[in-house]
């Protein structure tokens, strides 16, 4: 799964948590690249790197983009 690009569609979590993710650039419509996927997920959002705990990442849904 490392290296894949996902276009985010929706987030299923508390509004305050979703708002924090949106602040970090993890938001509906953004393109996110999965860089590492272990206990935490390391995502590339533009040039920034955002780390999400796996349980958080499991509530963020998106569409896989073609390579």
């Amino acid at each position: 799964m490392n290296g894949v690009v996902v276009q985010l569609a929706f987030m299923s979590m508390l509004p305050a948590e979703a708002a924090r993710l949106r602040d970090l650039g993890i938001r509906e419509g953004s393109r996110v690249q999965i860089l590492r996927n272990h206990d935490c997920l390391v995502c590339g959002v533009e040039a920034s790197r955002v780390v999400l705990r796996r349980e958080v990442a499991q509530n963020v849904f998106g569409v896989l983009q073609p390579a």
Partner: protein
């Protein structure tokens, strides 16, 4: 604060996301002309500086914020300053949005919000070099046209473009207020005019709309208006109900509307020469440093190295200060007339303050390493590395940064917990932060480890004393985790703590200039603290150790009289034998020095034992004796409840006043030489370990309690904190001392 409100200087606020180089720019603009304080009523740091020139400008460094939809106290301050919500804090004349050029889309979100406040805005497009390295080319002219505000490209770390920014900041004519160019979803938009009108008397015209949008989605923001504009408060609640009834996703409406405008703007001004998939240098470093197995191991090794270095590298400087303190005391004693005031200066002030000042090199080294971790970006990684372990105790990796900051001091650690969005995680972090070994414990650790624990090498690079120092830090850390687990499991049982998300800033070369200035700030704070608290406490302790002055016991008086008589007889004998009287007196005085000193020492010890501090120590000695502590250590512990390092001053004063026999001015030598009446040593390695563990676990810091009270808004949690930590300290020291004795290690 009032001075800034009434100032005639142009006021410019710097705002930006975290890690965009805002502080670097602030330092470049203001140099050393900075003032750091707090915003009124909150503990958020207020940094203000002055840009000299014509005209001079006051620059305010606002806390790093991802948006003007605040989720923490820091972000709230940034919003309140721009909106003029802070009493005594005038609205800035100009806002400079510092933007990371390599992360334009997300950064422009904050810019679009700032533009909506109606304040004249400039964009400082920073880190253009990083953008180029990432294969991004930005048409700044076009960006300026699209946004409708001036855009100044720059690389603040290389001082490029800063001159142009200064020029624009000084121009008489401020940039015009930008037009709003984004639209919100119609269902939300139709309710806005009525709500905006309700703020007519309270907010300037341009800022009303953004205020309404924030209140619509943020309870904390709405609470501000509950008493100030009750009609507005009620109308917002009604509007929320209306939108919820329509199932309108109004919580996302602002973000969707803004990005619907920003994303096409970015697409038009940015061209990419590289794809998404190429890993950066930071990614490659992270592959090793944050590896799931290697990461925690390397993190542990790094901490071990830091504490080893703190213990060994500081030694030459400490020896120098120690010698200086001893010489200063001797110098004063030799040149000042013998009096109670001289005793106060030498035994109280010089011994008390000097023995704490000795530890400044170690504290600076610790701050240097923490600054290095922060500046390179490794501190943020530690949160990521530790998240797996933190999740086991019911916290998130977000708590790691406040806990690591507590190695310097629990106060910034407790304050840093404000960045945690989850109130329960925040409270648990505050409750356990004081268990992390702060710099005030360092003098205590060093004194007792150096005096009573063995030297010798471990694995060639470490020493036993360095390992012992690391063990103290490890014990505090492990206990913090255990306490967090217990609090999460049995006290704060409600709620979910699975949320953890944070940005990893790119690695960068440490900026030693900034670290150096931070060290200067820290050392100033330490010296001022030593100069105020420790100085004051040293005088109080000297008074407590000197008074009340008791009449000497008959036995000692008789001994003194007998000695004087014997000396007089011997002098007469020599004079009768033909020796000059003065010479005879000097000879006999010299011959009887040891006996005289021994009697004086017994008298001084007898006196200090009956002084106020002696009585206090004696009073609690029965409770502390099971831990191996005599009345002197007990008295030191009582005084250390004001601040931990005061025990050093207390012991230095007690031994300086009460031990005239010990030649060495060094406290550790005096401790080593101290014995009970039966001749057995007061301090054994077991007593030292018991005392060290007591200091690892006990909460002996008034300032920590005060800040915990302020952050939790109640005395309940500071009281619980003090009780559980003191209880833990007593229990662990008891088990160690009694267990050690049972095993024959006493």
């Amino acid at each position: 604060m009032a001075d800034s409100a009434t100032t005639t200087l142009r006021r410019v606020a710097l705002i930006g996301n975290p890690n965009v180089g805002k502080t670097t720019l602030f330092n470049l603009l203001t140099g050393m002309r900075q003032k750091v304080g707090n915003y009124p009523g909150v503990t958020v740091e207020r940094k203000v500086g002055r840009l000299d020139g014509d005209p001079p400008i006051e620059i305010i460094d606002l806390p790093g914020s991802y948006s003007l939809s605040p989720k923490s106290a820091d972000e709230r301050i940034a919003y309140d300053v721009l909106m003029g919500h802070l009493p005594g804090e005038a609205v800035p004349d100009l806002v400079v949005c510092v933007v990371d050029a390599s992360n334009l889309e997300r950064n422009l979100y904050l810019v679009s919000q700032v533009m909506d406040t109606g304040l004249p805005t400039l964009v400082a497009l920073n880190m253009t070099d990083a953008a180029e390295e990432a294969g991004l080319s930005i048409d700044t002219k076009k960006l300026e046209e699209e946004l409708g505000v001036p855009v100044i490209p720059m690389v603040a770390s290389r001082n490029e473009g800063v001159g142009k920014l200064k020029y624009r900041m000084r121009q008489q004519e401020l940039p015009p207020t930008a037009e709003r160019q984004w639209d919100i979803m119609p269902v939300v938009d139709e309710g806005l005019p009525y709500l905006v009108d309700l703020l007519t008397e309270h907010v300037h015209e341009e800022g009303r709309r953004i205020e309404v949008l924030q209140c619509l989605t943020n309870d904390a923001m709405l609470a501000y208006w509950k008493d100030r504009a009750p009609a507005f408060h009620a109308a917002i609640l009604e509007e929320r109900s209306r939108l919820e009834g329509l199932k309108a996703p109004y919580q996302q409406s602002e973000i969707m509307g803004r990005y619907n405008w920003i994303s096409p703007v970015v697409a038009r001004v940015v061209s990419r020469s590289r794809g998404d998939s190429e890993p950066t240098l930071s990614d490659r470093i992270d592959a090793v440093l944050t590896h799931r197995v290697a990461g925690p191991v390397l993190f542990g090794l790094l901490l071990l190295l830091i504490f080893q270095a703190v213990f060994t590298w500081a030694t030459p400087a400490m020896d120098l200060i120690e010698a200086g303190v001893g010489n200063l005391g001797d110098l004063v004693r030799a040149n000042a007339p013998a009096s109670m005031f001289t005793d106060l200066v030498v035994d109280g002030v010089i011994a008390g303050v000097g023995n704490v000042a000795v530890f400044l090199p170690q504290i600076l080294l610790l701050f240097f390493f923490l600054g290095l971790m922060e500046d390179t970006g490794y501190m943020a990684r530690s949160a990521f590395i530790m998240d797996r372990i933190m999740s086991k105790v019911g916290l998130s990796g977000g708590s790691v940064v406040p806990l690591l900051s507590s190695f310097a001091c629990a106060i910034p650690g407790i304050m840093a917990a404000r960045t945690l969005a989850n109130p329960r995680d925040r409270l648990i972090t505050i409750m356990v932060a004081p268990l992390m070994s702060c710099s005030a414990r360092l003098p205590v650790y060093t004194l007792f480890i150096a005096a009573f624990l063995p030297t010798g090498a471990v694995l060639g690079i470490f020493t036993w004393q360095g390992v012992a120092m690391f063990s103290m830090y490890l014990l505090g850390t492990v206990m913090a985790f255990v306490a967090a687990f217990v609090l999460r499991r049995f006290v704060f049982t409600k709620g979910d703590s699975s949320f953890f998300a944070m940005e990893l800033p790119p690695y960068r070369m440490p900026r030693f200039r900034q670290i150096f200035w931070r060290l200067i700030d820290r050392s100033k704070a330490f010296v001022v603290r030593a100069g105020k608290i420790i100085f004051g406490m040293s005088i109080i302790l000297w008074v407590l150790a000197t008074f009340p002055q008791s009449d000497a016991p008959e036995a000692i008086v008789a001994e003194q009289a007998a000695l004087s008589e014997e000396k007089a007889e011997r002098v007469e004998g020599l004079v009768n034998g033909g020796v000059v009287r003065a010479e005879a007196e000097a000879l006999i005085e010299n011959e009887f020095t040891d006996e005289a000193l021994a009697i004086e020492a017994r008298l001084a010890a007898w006196q200090v034992e009956r002084s106020f501090i002696g009585r206090m120590g004696k009073f609690i000695e029965p409770v502390m004796q099971p831990l191996g502590f005599d009345w002197k250590i007990s008295a030191g512990i009582i005084s250390a409840f004001a601040a931990r390092e005061v025990i050093i001053s207390a012991l230095a004063t007690i031994y300086s006043v009460g031990d005239v026999e010990e030649d060495s001015p060094l406290l550790r030598d005096q401790l080593k030489a101290d014995t009970y009446a039966d001749g057995s040593p007061v301090y054994t390695p077991l007593v030292a370990v018991s005392l060290l563990v007591f200091f690892v676990l006990a909460l002996q810091c008034m300032s920590t309690l005060a800040i915990a009270r302020r952050e939790t808004n109640s005395w309940k949690w500071p009281a619980v904190m003090w009780l559980y930590m003191t209880g833990l300290a007593y229990l662990f020291s008891l088990v160690i001392y009694q267990g050690g004795q049972a095993l024959g290690w006493g």
